[in-house]
């Protein structure tokens, strides 16, 4: 049993629900539980870039009598108060562990009180027992895509806006989201593409209702794929999945999106971008600094891990020798999700192999160096892997960086990042500016730790 002494207990679906809902401006969240649970959330929002749920999250203040008697007056009164006082377009009722255990029927309560409530009411009843936080985010994404997005496409005259996309995946817990979104939106503007909404870290109820207006959905995070599938099924909107990492990855991303939207990519713009942001690590290192032996550990969600690994190997020549991925919840594992995860792992292994073969997937030159992949290892396993591989660089979350204290270059690159602020919008990891920022940062870090260079 992993007692999580050095690591952290993975947040449950309850948190995913809160985080996925928190970026919807005109929606309020009312959780049914004791106020202690709500009070605690001030802390967990604080570690995500010093955000606060104030004005967004409320508690019904359930007490012992409510538990014993199964009473629901408090949640009814709280809904009425929020509805009357703040006029939200939507109120989401969220179960906590206590509600879930006593089996309170949130859907039944909604059926009764919806007619006298102006805000539309939704319920999320997992209560922290339906899996990890990704399950909660998926539940919210699925509910909004299925039940809230307007089916205006039944109107025969409806036509999606050309050159308009939804960005699907970012939520308030997403690492480095301020800068990454800024860069993604900037690159889309370069292509003449407009963003309809960012689902869900920067949106509002009407934007969700109008998801169908976009002619393409850009999925930036694997946990947005189900919602994209739902939207494809309902509105016929195609989707593109992936993040732009590195120079090559960014240009391929732009080409793919241009192609899907049927627009031409202006070569002059691309050239200007590459000239400005495409500097290679070799242009920044001096001729006495040899770093072709360096190994890195990447411990991030799959989208970041894959992109960083490819960029690291292709553009820096650094070996992503150890990859650590989060597990998807066993409780909500579906066949489809299994396939998705297998696919991600296969792709990563294939691409990593391809990278060490000089970019040729089936090439036979180069040294065979496969990344070791660990799925949510316990702390001891992780320590042993680090001790064995001895990376000089780690990209990971705050706990990974603490566990790998002897690794000289430690870079925050994943949630949770309780000791790291990323509010400024000029430090992207993705896109061409992300390439420039990371390349500059890694060479600066190497310069601060010159012992890692090979003579």
């Amino acid at each position: 049993m992993d007692l999580k002494h050095s690591g952290f207990p993975v947040p449950s679906d309850y948190f995913g629900v809160l985080w996925a809902l928190s970026g919807i401006r005109d929606l309020l969240v009312l959780e049914h539980g004791s106020t202690g649970t709500c009070n605690y959330n001030a802390f967990n929002y604080m570690i995500m870039n010093r955000q606060t749920p104030k004005g967004k999250l409320f508690s019904s203040g359930m007490d012992e009598d409510d538990v014993v008697m199964g009473r629901d007056e408090k949640i009814r009164d709280a809904v009425a108060e929020l509805d009357c006082k703040y006029h939200p377009k939507m109120i989401a009722l969220v179960a906590t562990g206590v509600t879930s255990v006593i089996g309170l029927d949130l859907k039944g309560i909604i059926e009764e009180i919806q007619p006298k409530t102006n805000a539309r009411l939704l319920s999320f009843s997992g209560g922290g027992f339906a899996g990890d936080y990704t399950a909660g985010i998926r539940e919210v994404f699925g509910t909004l895509a299925r039940d809230v997005a307007d089916d205006g496409s039944k109107d025969a005259s409806f036509k999606a806006d050309e050159f308009t996309v939804n960005i699907i995946g970012p939520t308030i817990d997403s690492f480095n989201i301020v800068s990454d979104l800024t860069e993604i939106e900037r690159m889309l503007r370069l292509m003449g593409v407009r963003v309809n909404t960012v689902f869900t870290c920067d949106t509002e109820v009407d934007c969700i209702k109008n998801l169908k207006c976009a002619s393409l959905n850009l999925v930036t995070r694997d946990i947005g794929l189900e919602a994209a599938e739902i939207l494809k099924e309902r509105f016929g909107t195609p989707y593109y999945y992936g993040l732009p990492f590195g120079v090559r990855g960014s240009i391929e991303w732009m080409k793919d999106i241009s192609s899907m939207l049927g627009i031409g990519l202006d070569r002059t713009v691309v050239r200007a971008e590459v000239e400005r942001y495409g500097f290679s690590i070799l242009e920044l290192a001096n001729h006495m600094q040899n770093f072709d032996h360096l190994k890195a550990m990447i411990s991030c969600p799959p989208d970041y891990s894959t992109g960083l690994a490819v960029m690291m190997r292709e553009e820096w020549g650094i070996d992503p020798a150890l990859m650590v991925l989060p597990a998807y919840s066993a409780n909500v594992q579906t066949e489809k999700q299994d396939r998705m995860q297998d696919c991600i792992q296969d792709r990563m292994q294939a691409r990593t192999r391809a990278m060490v073969h000089g970019g040729e997937a089936d090439g036979d030159s180069g040294t065979e160096r496969e990344s070791r992949i660990l799925i949510e290892p316990d702390c001891q396993t992780l320590k042993e892997a680090i001790d064995s591989i001895k990376p000089q660089i780690i990209f990971g979350n705050s706990y990974d960086l603490n566990i790998a204290k002897d690794v000289p270059i430690r870079i925050h690159a994943a949630f949770p990042a309780f000791d790291h602020i990323y509010r400024y919008d000029g430090t992207p990891f993705v896109g061409l500016r992300g390439h420039a920022y990371l390349t500059q940062m890694i060479i600066n870090q190497l310069n601060l730790n010159p012992e890692v260079f090979r003579n």
Binding site: P11, Y40, K74, H87
Partner: protein, 443 residues
């Protein structure tokens, strides 16, 4: 935050002079944020202060993740707590099929791998609701481990606030204590929560008179030191949470105690010291007089700087109404006090404040949006106490956070309070400037 159009805050407060006898204040809203503290969190944040211990936190992922984060935030300060927390997830399967085996295995593993002298077992709301006989399970495993197993129940849903859980934490320490011969001129301090506890003015003053402080509970005492705690001549109880333990020690071991919460006014501090000194048969009059004189001089300086200001008080450690009197004495009129509960022992301080002609609004302070509405209506110059800075700044109110005074005692605490009132912390001007531009468009 979404806008609201029907402020009805005026119906939710009373004047101090209208306050009924002790207990919780009326809630200010049905939908609450953030609400009162969780006792699971409070206990999880406290048990690391007991040396040579580990704690198994037994709860759903919601509680465990938040407990870990609270510790992580503390780790970013100069007073990090030892990392002694271990986590056992209470899953849906455990609710259905039972938690006993998992807990038993975790206890054996923690004992084997971490070798604690004491292993705290901290339950959350869910075990209490499910009703599995948790204590019996622990009794079965007790003979198999070297560690002393101390159970702390923190059923937060049964109460408003963290008090019962924290009291349970204190009570659990009683199980470590043994009958001791009483040692003259020794004392324990109950209810001081800091690594600097032994450097406080109270401790320095008592030690200068030959009083040995055996334990400061729960500030970094070892299980063996706690075992010897009943031998103290006196327990000095600084807050209500330590009171049940002091009563148990008196009943079982005859250890005398004095319940004397942290004062703020120089006269109150003088009396506080003299009461403690009387119990210990020591004479500290000269030292106290010197300290008081310096504090009075500082108080006069503060009056010159602060006279004519108004404030709202919240989140105070110790005696809130005595702090209100201190503020009034330097010309800062308390317009409102945002509190969770009023204790019966607050009555003398309340009367003193009213006798000064100060009759502030009393408002339940656990609902942040309601607090903001009240502050917007009253528009005091200062908020004093709470950790919240951005919201008052947005309202054009200067926030005075008292966190550095919370870990001090006696005159030095009062001087720190007055210093914080007179000196703006780094960054505050910039915050206020930004909020003025955002709020009123001034630039």
């Amino acid at each position: 935050m979404m806008s609201q159009q029907h402020p009805d805050i005026g119906t939710k407060y009373i004047r101090l002079s209208e306050l009924p006898d002790g207990g919780s204040l009326a809630t200010t809203a049905h939908a609450k944020y953030p609400g009162q503290h969780c006792s699971f969190r409070a206990v999880a944040g406290t048990v690391p202060l007991i040396k040579n211990s580990y704690a198994l936190l037994l709860g759903p992922a919601i509680c465990l993740y938040n407990a870990k984060l609270s510790m992580n935030m503390r780790s970013l300060t100069s007073d990090p707590r030892p990392n002694n927390l271990l986590f056992v997830n209470y899953s849906q399967e455990d609710i259905i099929f039972g938690f006993r085996e998992k807990v038993r295995e975790a206890i054996l593993q923690a004992d084997r791998e971490y070798h604690p002298e004491v292993l705290f077992l901290i339950t959350s709301c869910l075990q209490e609701i499910v009703g599995e006989d948790f204590d019996a399970c622990i009794d079965e495993v007790r003979p198999l481990v070297r560690a002393r197993l101390l159970i702390i129940h923190t059923e937060n849903f049964t109460c408003e606030g963290a008090a019962p859980g924290v009291e349970n934490m204190f009570r659990s320490l009683f199980e470590l204590m043994k009958e001791q011969p009483q040692e003259a001129r020794t004392a324990n301090i109950l209810g001081l929560w800091t690594s600097n506890a032994r450097k406080t003015e109270l401790v320095r003053l008592l030690e200068s008179k030959g009083v040995r402080i055996k334990n400061i509970i729960p500030s970094y005492c070892t299980p063996s030191e706690l075992e010897a705690a009943p031998g103290a001549q006196l327990n000095i109880v600084l807050d209500q949470y330590g009171l049940p333990l002091a009563r148990q020690m008196k009943e079982r071991f005859g250890t005398d105690y004095i319940y004397s919460r942290k004062p703020y006014q120089p006269d109150s501090i003088e009396q506080w010291y003299h009461e403690i000194a009387a119990e210990l048969n020591i004479d500290i009059q000269t030292e106290v007089a010197d300290l008081k004189e310096k504090t009075l001089a500082f108080q006069e300086k503060a009056r010159c700087a602060l006279d004519g200001l108004t404030c709202a008080i919240s989140g105070v450690s110790g005696r809130p109404f005595d702090l209100a009197s201190l503020l009034a004495s330097v010309g800062v009129k308390p317009e409102a006090m945002l509190l969770q509960t009023v204790l019966s022992e607050d009555r003398p301080d309340i009367q003193s404040l009213l006798d000064l002609g100060v009759d502030p609004i009393i408002f339940r302070g656990d609902n942040s949006l309601q607090n903001d509405e009240l502050l917007a209506r009253l528009s005091p110059d200062l908020t004093v106490g709470s950790f919240e800075r951005t919201s008052p700044a947005r309202l054009g109110i200067r926030p005075v956070v008292l966190s550095t005074s919370n870990y001090l005692l006696g005159f030095e605490s009062t001087i720190e309070v007055l210093r914080l009132l007179m000196e703006k912390p780094p960054g505050l001007e910039a915050l206020m400037y930004k909020e003025r531009i955002l709020g009123k468009g001034e630039c």
